[in-house]
Symmetry: C2
Subunit: 522 residues, 2 copies
C-alpha cells in the first residue's frame, strides 16, 4: 500500500503509482464499495513493466529449473502467509463463502507446487535426439537435437470468477513462470485487493529467492486501455486469458492484428451439454436431480463448467425429471453473484433467452433479499426448435439451464451435431445403453475438450490428464489446455540444434544427460 | 484429364470441372506456356469438396491406424507409378533440373512412408492416464484419461518452390491424413500439371484402399478466390500453407476473422542469418566461400532456408572473404527461376534492397540468356546501418545475400538482437571461440527455429528432431513444425475422458492397452 489506502502497481519489484485514475472494488453482499483506491497503471508504467520483463527474460529463462522451483514454492509460501487477511479480501470482493475461498486457495497452492515440481524436473524441455549418420547414402545425416524453449514475456488476464486459481498467481502465471517466461498480470478490477495481495506475495517471493526483478509485474486496471496496451506490446510474446467470449475474442483480434501476431490462449464461454439417458432416469431420477441441481447452483452458477444444456428423450420419466429439477432449483435460496456487473449480465442474457418464443420457464426463484442475488432459472425447449436457433447456445453466466426435449435418438443426435465448441460434454447413462448409442460419444467428442460419464461437469481436477479447453468458443485454440501439467505447453516452442558439439549444447540435449531427462533418441 | 487437354478438379473421388475459367502452366526455360487447360474450381465445387470432407471425417478418423497407413503407403506407390511423366511435368513447370526433381520425389515418398508408419503405430495419440483415487481427501479423484483426436478437414496450400515435398501430397497432406483429417488441396497454379498428377495418384490410392471418397480433394485455382473460400469455410478446421509472408499473413488474417477462428500454420519468409567467426575465416576461408556460394545458388536461391544475411567481424580476413564470395557468385552461371512471376518478384525486391543508400554491391552476374534467369547478387552493409534499417531484413527470394560488417562482438550482438524471426540461424566457428561468445547462441536461439553449427542452412532433414518453423515471420506459430514427425501435432488436439468404463474408452486409453502404446500413467 502506498499511503491513505492507495494501492499501486508492482513493477520491477517495487510498488509504483503515477496514475491519475483510481477505482475501488465492491462487496456484493453488502452491496457497497470497499475502502481502498487502486491506482490505474499509466501507459508509461505498462511500457516499463514490459521493458523489465523483456530485459530479464534471458536471465530468468537461463536459471536452473531448481531455482525457478524455489521461486514458485516461495510464492506458495508467501501466499499462505497472507492467511486470514487474504480470505477476508476474497470473500468481501466476491460474495463467495469462506469454504469456497479456502478450497480455491488450496488448489492454487497445489498448482504452484505442481508447477514448481515441473520446473525442477525439467521434463517440459522434451529433448529429442537424432544421432548423426555420416555414412548414410545418398547424403549423410547431421546430428539433430530438439528441445523446448520459453516464448518470452507472457501477459495474464485474470478471471472474475476465480480470483486465485485462474488469476494473479493462478494456472497461467504458474505455468509460465515454471518454464522461464516472465509474467505481466493485468489485475481483475472486481477483486483488486485480492489480486494486489497475491501480487505482493509474488514480489516478496521473487526478492527472497533472488529472482531478477522484471520477472513479475502486476498492473491495476479497470478500463480496457491497459489490457489493450499489453496485448499489442512488442515485448509480450503470448497471452493467457480466462473470461467471457467477448473479452477473449477482443484480445485474440488484437493479437492477430499485431505486426508480429502472438498466440492467445483464452478460455471463454461454455454451456457444457449434459445428456441424460432414459434408463438412467428410470432408476436414478432423484439422485440425478440432486446432482444437477447442486452443479447448476455451485458458485451461483459462475463456473465455466456449469451445466447449461440438458438433453433427454421426451417420455414420462423425462417430464418428471424436468419438473423435479425445476422444483429443486426453485426451492433453493437465491445466492449472491460476484458483482453488480455480473448480475446485470446474468439478467440481460437470461431475459434475452426467455424472449425466444419457443422457450418456456420450468422453474425459478424470484425471492431475492439483495440486488446482487440471482434468480436461478430452468427453461425448456423442443429439440426441433433448439436445432434451428443458435441463440439458445449462448451462455447465460449464472445459475441457469435449458432442458432440450428430443423426440428420439436421431433428433438428439442432430441436436448434438449443431453444438458449438464446449469445455465439457457429460453423459448420464448405463454402460450398456450408452454402448448402443456410441455415435453420441463420437459426435460429442469432436465438440468438447472433456467427456464425462455419470458425473457433473463442475469440478476441474489439476492433473496430467486434464484437458481444460475445447473448440471455439470454449477456447481460442483447442490444441492447448489451461489446467494441468500440459498447461505449460502454451508458453514453449521447439528449437533444433544441428551439428552442435556436446559442450555447446543445452544440458537437456547433451548425450551425457546431466539433467537425467527422458530423451527421445532416434 | 477431362478431354481436349482440359484438367478438372478432384472431388469426392471424381474429376469434375463445371467452371468457366481456365489457365495454363508455364515452362520458364522455354519461356512459354505449357499445353493443357486447368479448369478453375467453382464456388459450388469448393463447397462440395468441403461438404464431402466434413461428411467423411468421422468415418475416416475412426479407421484403424493400419488402414490409414495402407492409404499413405498406397499414395507413395501410386506416385511412383507416375514415374518419368511426373519428373517431366515437374521439370517443365519449374525449370529445375531432373536431379532435383528426383531428389524431392524421393523425399516426398519417404515422408509419406514415415507418416504411414506414424499412423500405424498410433503414438501421436499420446495417451495419458490418471487413475481414480476414490479415497482421496478432502475430495475423491475421478479417473481421467486424455488422448489426441484429429481436428477435422484441413486445407493445404502448396508451395511454388516444392511441387512435391511441400505441396499436393507433401508434408502437410501426409501428416494430416496420418492422424485422420481429410485434406482439401488448393493446387499451386505454377505447377498445375504436377499437382494434378499427384492428386490423381492420391485419388487412385484412396479407391484402391477403400477410403471414404471425401478424404481428399484437389482444387485448381489461379486466383485468390478459391483459397479465400476454403480458408473461411466452416467445415475447414485448420490450414497448412508454405509460401510468402504476404500469402501466409493473408490466410492468417482471414482465419482470425472467421466466426470460429481456426489454427493456421504458415511457413513463410526467412533470411536465415549466418555468423562467420574470425578464427574460422583465418583457417578455412576458401572452404566456407564454396559452402556458402553453393548454398546461396542451390535451387536458384529458391529455398526457405537460403542464407540471406551473413554476419562477421570486419578485419582483413572478412574483407577477403567478402570479395571471394562475391567473385565465386559472379563466376557462376545464372540459373532459371521457377516462373516469370517469381523472377519479377526477385527483381523487384532486389532493386528495392539495392536502392537503400547504405547498401553496396559486392558482386553479381548479369549474363542471362533467358528472361527467367536470376542475376545472383552479393551486397554489403555496415552493421550500424543494418541495425537501424529493418528493410534490410526483407527476404529477397532468390540467389541473394547481404554481408553485414560488424566492428566488434558487441555490435554483432546488437545486430542479432534486432533480428526478426527466422527458420534457421547458423554459426561458423571453432568450438572454443564460440564458447567465448555464448551470448550469441543465447540471443540467436530466441529468434530462430533451428540453430546450425558449421553447416549451411539449406538441407532440411525429415526426422523427429527437426524443427522447421520459427518466430514470426518465419511461421505464424512457432510452437509447431512443418517438417518431421511432430508436423502432425498441428492437426490434433487433446480430449479428456472422465470416469469412463473401460468398454467405452477409445483403445488408446484402455488399461488393457490393445494398441500397445506408451501410456503416461499418473
Amino acid at each position: 500500500m502506498m499511503s491513505n489506502n492507495n494501492y499501486g502497481n508492482w513493477i520491477d519489484g517495487k510498488e509504483v503509482a503515477k496514475g491519475e485514475f483510481n477505482y475501488t472494488s465492491f462487496n456484493p453482499i453488502q452491496n457497497k464499495p470497499i475502502q481502498g483506491n487502486f491506482i490505474e497503471a499509466t501507459a508509461e508504467e505498462v511500457n516499463f513493466a514490459a521493458a523489465c520483463a523483456a530485459k530479464d527474460f534471458m536471465t530468468y529463462s537461463r536459471l536452473s529449473g531448481s531455482r525457478r522451483a524455489e521461486f514458485l514454492q516461495m510464492i506458495a509460501t508467501e501466499i499462505e502467509v497472507l492467511g486470514a487477511d487474504l480470505i477476508l479480501a476474497y470473500c468481501s470482493e466476491t460474495g463467495l463463502p469462506e469454504g469456497r475461498a479456502k478450497g480455491e486457495l488450496g488448489r492454487t497452492l497445489n498448482q504452484l507446487r505442481l508447477f514448481a515440481e515441473q520446473a525442477r524436473i525439467n521434463t517440459w524441455q522434451m529433448p529429442s535426439i537424432d544421432l548423426a549418420q555420416p555414412d548414410r547414402s545418398p547424403m549423410p545425416k547431421s546430428d539433430l537435437r530438439k528441445m523446448m524453449l520459453p516464448l518470452g514475456p507472457i501477459a495474464v488476464f485474470g478471471a472474475s470468477n476465480f480470483p486465485l486459481a485462474y488469476s494473479t498467481a493462478g494456472g497461467d502465471t504458474a505455468s509460465a513462470l515454471a518454464v522461464g517466461c516472465p509474467v505481466i498480470v493485468k489485475s481483475h478490477p472486481m477483486h483488486a485487493k485480492t489480486s494486489y495481495m497475491v501480487a505482493s506475495a509474488v514480489v516478496r517471493a521473487a526478492q527472497k529467492t533472488q529472482m531478477p526483478s522484471g520477472v513479475f509485474a502486476h498492473l491495476n486496471s479497470k478500463d480496457h486501455q491497459v489490457g489493450q496496451q499489453i496485448a499489442v506490446h512488442q515485448s509480450v510474446k503470448a497471452i493467457g486469458f480466462t473470461g467471457s467470449v467477448k473479452g477473449g475474442r477482443a484480445l485474440l483480434d488484437l493479437a492477430a492484428q499485431r505486426p508480429e501476431p502472438i498466440p492467445v490462449f483464452a478460455e471463454m464461454g461454455s454451456v457444457n451439454p449434459v445428456i441424460v439417458f432414459p434408463d438412467k432416469l428410470k432408476h436414478e431420477l432423484a439422485q440425478i436431480v440432486t446432482q444437477l441441481s447442486d452443479s447448476i447452483m455451485l458458485g451461483t452458477g459462475q463456473f465455466c463448467t456449469s451445466p447449461g444444456l440438458i438433453f433427454g428423450i421426451d417420455n414420462d420419466d423425462w417430464k418428471l425429471f424436468c419438473t423435479s429439477l425445476a422444483e429443486s432449483l426453485a426451492q433453493r435460496d437465491t445466492q449472491c453473484m460476484l458483482h453488480p456487473n455480473i448480475k446485470r449480465g446474468f439478467d440481460t442474457s437470461r431475459e434475452s433467452h426467455l424472449s425466444q418464443p419457443e422457450v418456456s420457464v420450468l422453474g425459478t426463484n424470484s425471492n431475492t433479499t439483495n440486488p446482487n442475488q440471482a434468480s436461478q432459472t430452468l427453461t425448456r425447449v423442443n429439440a426441433v426448435d433448439f436445432i434451428l436457433n443458435p441463440e439458445l447456445q449462448h451462455e447465460v453466466f449464472g445459475p441457469f439451464a435449458l432442458m432440450i426435449s428430443c423426440k428420439d435418438w436421431d433428433e438428439l443426435h442432430t441436436a448434438l451435431e449443431q453444438l458449438k465448441g464446449n469445455l465439457t460434454g457429460s453423459i448420464m447413462a448405463n454402460e450398456s445403453s450408452l454402448n448402443a448409442q456410441l455415435n453420441l460419444v463420437n459426435t460429442l467428442q469432436h465438440r468438447v475438450g472433456r467427456l464425462i460419464f455419470n458425473q457433473v461437469p463442475t469440478g476441474v481436477e489439476v492433473c496430467a490428464s486434464m484437458q481444460h479447453g475445447g473448440p471455439y468458443p470454449a477456447s481460442t485454440d483447442s490444441r492447448f489446455t489451461a489446467v494441468g501439467h500440459d498447461a505449460l505447453l502454451r508458453w514453449v516452442r521447439p528449437v533444433s540444434f544441428q551439428n552442435f558439439p556436446e559442450s555447446l549444447l543445452p544440458q537437456a540435449l547433451q548425450s551425457a544427460n546431466p539433467l537425467g531427462l527422458k530423451q527421445r533418441i532416434n
